[in-house]
């Protein structure tokens, strides 16, 4: 049996997916990206191999993606996270879709037609608005762990609106809201709403809405708000955080079959 590996080294987490010849996931791993991407990639791979009981020699092809895509020495090639998120998402929803990937440092809106061909894509502009980094900053200001944000937002009964584009200005707005006696959960919901607004501004929705990426995976309430904003159901593939790595593994398999 041959296996195919996709590794997605993002700004915050490194994700790896191992597929068999039938496109079945046999292992998936995740580590903090850290600062030594090559070493992180080795850890991801070692974990995946032992979890699946596969040897390195059985891996027929691998591809890397994400910010650290140039730093994985053992892959056969690289491909952008825009292509991989599209590929991974389309695998689960074989129709025209708009993929919204909210990452730690950037967000993407990708349009795919009903054959899975990319027709356009947008990445957020330089700043942190509309990304995981924004929520991290908010968590810091509110002195709450990032992991608690989703529960807080869900508990909100009354929303506090944050008007500013800029992460720093939004943080200042939050200080003012705290002074005014607003509830933390209402402020968090406002912050979630702000992330969704920044995404809605990036591009239009074409076809069905699919959300991927670690930030949405850990903050499912973002999907609820996205549904409200777009007025349509937000689909999530299984294991949304690994969609990029999964897409990379699919590309590896496809290219191997094409004899590349």
């Amino acid at each position: 049996m041959h296996y195919f590996c996709g590794i997605d080294i993002g700004a915050s987490a490194a994700k790896l997916v191992l597929l068999d010849e039938n496109q079945q996931v046999v292992a998936r791993t995740i580590h903090h990206s850290g600062v030594d991407y090559a070493q992180t990639a080795d850890h991801c791979l070692a974990d995946a191999l032992s979890a699946a009981g596969v040897t390195r020699q059985q891996i027929a092809a691998s591809l890397s993606t994400g910010y650290g895509r140039d730093n994985v020495p053992w892959v056969g090639g690289k491909i952008t996270e825009i292509a991989c998120h599209g590929k991974g998402a389309f695998f689960h929803f074989r129709r025209a879709i708009t993929v919204i990937d909210i990452g730690a440092q950037d967000s993407k809106v990708i349009h795919l037609d009903n054959r899975g061909r990319r027709t356009s894509f947008k990445m957020n502009r330089k700043c942190a608005a509309g990304t995981g980094a924004f929520l991290e900053e908010i968590a810091l200001r509110l002195n709450r762990p990032v992991a608690e944000l989703n529960d807080l937002a869900e508990r909100s009964t009354r929303e506090v609106s944050l008007g500013s584009f800029c992460t720093v200005f939004a943080a200042t707005e939050i200080l003012a809201k705290i002074r005014a006696g607003e509830q933390v959960e209402d402020i968090v919901k406002g912050a979630f709403r702000s992330v969704v607004k920044r995404i809605v501004e990036m591009d239009t929705l074409v076809g069905d809405l699919v959300m991927t990426g670690g930030v949405a995976a850990h903050n499912r309430y973002l999907a609820t708000l996205a549904e409200e904003a777009f007025g349509t159901h937000a689909h999530m593939p299984p294991d949304p955080q690994h969609v990029g790595a999964f897409g990379a593994a699919l590309f590896a398999l496809e290219r191997h079959e094409q004899g590349e």
Binding site: Y67, T80, A83, D106, R117, R118, F121, K122, M123, K126
Partner: protein
């Protein structure tokens, strides 16, 4: 960077360095030789100034140098602190920062810095910033600052508009004669316009060479090769230089020499260059075997309407027909023709934060053109000079993803 991704330079470039060096030397020596210096905007009435015997200096060229050497990044904040917003033209802010600090890339060429102006002459065909920029120096040096106010977003160039601009140009003669201490010789003006027209025709032919597949030159080559067309139009040296370059280009095209080895795709660059990142961008495109074959920017120094038999009106027509001061409809049609002519696969729009005048993605044009032409596009957020507004990593990923998409088409 490996040599495979390095730009394949032209032999002629060595000669160009000499031509540009001589130009700058003359600027420096002007005062000793009793010659006056006029500052001129890049698409200002250079021919008139030359005909009046001025040495003509183009501060936007200096702005580009400040960008390309990345000195701009340290100099812009000085102008910001003085009261020039970080949101306005970063040529202006880098140049004024350079003046305030007394540092210039020209010092590496053994010049003390930009020459002091005896008169500053603008044309607002490109933007208002040039006038504000020149007025700063007018105040600093207490010298006249005069110019032409060309309407913007022009659709049809009708006679009344040409009259309006031509009259303003003629009205400049008197103050310019006064500052020059000499009378305008109309034959000299005709002669200068004739030389400028020759330069324009040659420069256009140079850019036309990129219609060959594979293309023998790229937009990145163009940003270097355009130097003489910008600063020496109306001068014999520019004409001689482009004849030389053209011979080399013809040879390249005949031999099938590609500027980008194994050219797979052809991209159009719309908007300003990102001066401080040209070489890394050029390297990335080469690596992706994608040729940025044509651009609005390099074509902005083609002034086909120049005509020595009708000096003022033809200058008015030439400098009012440039892309930057035209209507959205005209621009769309222009880009469409370029895409067809140069057999372009996709369009890259540079949204330069500090130059709304030369960023054409902001009013939905990319989407309209995509629907019309069926060609994908990419918007890169950045700036001509202010690298604080540019994310290298995001741009690299965006370009890589864009080329992946071209491969899928």
């Amino acid at each position: 960077m490996s040599s495979a991704t390095e730009r394949r330079d032209f032999e002629a470039t060595k000669k160009m360095k000499g031509v540009m060096g001589k130009y700058f030397m003359e600027l420096t020596q002007g005062p000793q030789q009793g010659r006056k210096t006029a500052w001129c905007t890049s698409v200002g009435p250079a021919e008139l100034l030359r005909a009046l015997g001025y040495n003509v200096y183009f501060p936007e060229n200096h702005g580009a140098m400040l960008g390309a050497t990345r000195m701009a990044t340290d100099l812009i904040p000085l102008a910001n602190a003085r009261g020039f917003s970080p949101d306005i033209c970063s040529y202006l802010t880098s140049d004024i920062g350079s003046y305030l600090k007394g540092e210039s890339p020209l010092q590496k060429m053994k010049m003390p810095g930009p020459p002091k102006a005896d008169v500053l002459v603008f044309n607002t065909n490109q933007c208002r910033d040039v006038k504000d920029w020149f007025q700063f120096y007018g105040r600093e040096w207490n010298v006249p600052c005069v110019g032409i106010h060309t309407p913007r977003a022009i659709g049809e160039l009708d006679d009344s508009l040409i009259d309006h601009v031509a009259q303003q140009t003629e009205a400049l003669v008197e103050p310019l004669e006064k500052a020059a201490g000499t009378k305008l010789d109309i034959d000299k003006l005709r002669e200068t316009i004739a030389l400028s027209k020759q330069c324009t025709d040659l420069w256009k032919t140079v850019l036309e060479a990129a219609a060959n597949v594979p293309s023998p030159l790229t937009f990145f080559d163009g940003t270097i090769q355009m130097g003489p067309a910008v600063v020496l139009r109306g001068h014999q040296d520019a004409v001689d230089y482009y004849r030389l370059l053209l011979d080399e280009l013809k040879q390249r095209a005949a031999d099938g020499v590609a500027a980008v080895e194994g050219e797979r795709f052809r991209v159009y660059w719309e908007g300003m260059p990102i001066w401080g990142k040209l070489s890394s961008l050029s390297g990335q495109f080469t690596e992706l075997r994608t040729c940025v074959a044509a651009s609005t920017y390099c074509n902005s120094w083609v002034f086909e309407a120049l005509d020595p038999s009708d000096p003022f009106r033809s200058m008015a027509r030439a400098y009012s027909s440039i892309f930057i001061c035209r209507s959205e409809e005209f621009k769309e049609q222009y880009i469409q023709q370029m895409v067809e002519h140069f057999r372009i696969d996709g369009i890259l729009y540079h949204d330069a934060k500090t130059c709304p005048n030369n960023s054409n993605n902001r009013y939905e044009m990319p989407e309209r053109l995509r629907q019309k032409l069926g060609k994908p596009y990419l918007v890169v957020n950045g700036d001509l000079n202010d690298l604080r507004l540019y994310s290298e990593e995001q741009t690299r990923t965006n370009i890589e993803a864009f080329v992946e998409q071209l491969a899928e088409e």
